[in-house]
């Protein structure tokens, strides 16, 4: 795969290294000549000096045949513009944009960026996952289908302890995929499976129904 990375900061540098290691054809675009030289000295000719927002620069590096375009500079507006130029001028099939401000996610998607990654949100999710008492954790977002995969823990206090799956009033488009009990292996929930304290439930739902699903599973 030919991947173009814009921005030779710390994120861009380590991303470049990781992608090269995976055997991809990668090119890093960086404005600063000094950074460019350091990277070229270390990794060979994988860094091109130029402005990743300029259509001319992108034409020089053959953006037209790139499979993926990743913008990871520290400025949201620069990332947005370079992704838009890659998309509209060079028809890159997949553009990925780093966000500083997580609130820009919806806007950038609307403006044609395929994937947005917010470091703030990622860290927040990781924290949620690490806090054991947190009742609902995001595992995965399936953007194309508008679905999310979440992890809900059934605590001692949950009113649903002792109830069967069919007794729960789950919101629309929500399905329980897996129950992982405190002891023993994971099992597929059946209509008459009884919920127990300490159960961990992997469920599929929509972003809107998340709250309702959590309440249904905790019996609120």
């Amino acid at each position: 795969m030919y991947i173009i990375v814009v921005g030779g900061g710390r994120l861009g540098y380590y991303l470049l290294k990781a992608l090269l290691k995976e055997g991809h054809e990668v090119l890093l675009l960086e404005k600063d000549a000094r950074i460019c030289k350091t990277i070229t000295d270390e990794l060979g000719s994988v860094c091109y000096r130029g402005d990743g927002c300029e259509a001319a620069t992108l034409a020089e590096v053959g953006t037209g045949r790139a499979d993926m375009f990743v913008a990871v500079t520290g400025d949201d507006e620069d990332n947005l513009v370079s992704c838009q130029v890659a998309k509209h001028k060079h028809n890159v099939p997949r553009t990925i944009c780093r966000l500083r401000n997580p609130q820009n996610a919806a806007l950038f998607k609307k403006l044609g960026v395929d994937v947005t990654i917010s470091t703030t949100d990622l860290i927040l999710e990781a924290i949620e996952r690490e806090v054991p008492t947190h009742p609902l954790t995001h595992l995965l977002t399936i953007d194309e289908k508008g679905l999310v995969v979440v992890d809900v823990k059934i605590s001692q206090e949950s009113a649903t302890v002792g109830k069967t799956v069919k007794e729960l009033s789950l919101p629309e488009k929500s399905n329980l995929a897996l129950i992982i009990p405190a002891q023993g292996g994971a099992r597929t929930p059946q209509a008459n499976t009884v919920l127990q304290a300490g159960d961990q439930i992997i469920a599929v739902t929509t972003p809107e129904s998340e709250e309702a699903l959590r309440n249904a599973l905790r019996g609120i």
């Binding site: 259509a55 001319a56 400025d75 507006e77 947005l80 513009v81 130029v85 401000n101 806007l107 403006l111």
Partner: protein, 132 residues
């Protein structure tokens, strides 16, 4: 008309004072309050500190009921992003964007923004002057 200007540089400040003296309701935004020194003492509009690529700031500046949004900061990309927010999020009926880079200017013009490239305009002007 209610006009919101982003960027209080020489152009922004001058435009703001011209529009203000024409009787329009002008608000001007900048990320540095020091820039507001460029506004003349007679300026009767609002000078607001804040970043125009932040939706919250734009709301505070009254973008929801403004008729025209103009982006004239030094950064092409900032202008482009702010204008796209104004157009696609707040549905401002008229959005004017300064983009120095002629190539970028052409692309965003085809994407539906009302754009002006000072580079193009000014070099054309000079050319006409020189060639007579």
């Amino acid at each position: 008309m209610k006009i919101l200007i982003m960027g209080c540089g020489r152009v922004g400040a001058r435009l703001a004072s011209l529009l203000d003296s024409d009787g329009h309701e002008v608000t001007i935004l900048d990320i540095e309050t020091y820039s507001f020194r460029r506004l003349p003492p007679s300026f009767g509009g609002t000078a607001l500190y804040g970043n125009g690529i932040d939706e919250e700031t734009l709301k505070k500046a009254g973008i929801e009921d403004c008729d025209v949004f103009v982006a004239v900061t030094q950064g092409d990309n900032r202008n482009v992003m702010a204008c796209q927010i104004a157009k696609h999020v707040f549905n401002v009926s008229r959005v004017v964007c300064r983009i120095y880079d002629p190539l970028r200017e052409e692309m965003y013009a085809t994407l539906g923004l009302e754009t002006i490239s000072p580079t193009k305009v000014f070099s054309q002007l000079l050319r006409e002057k020189i060639e007579g």
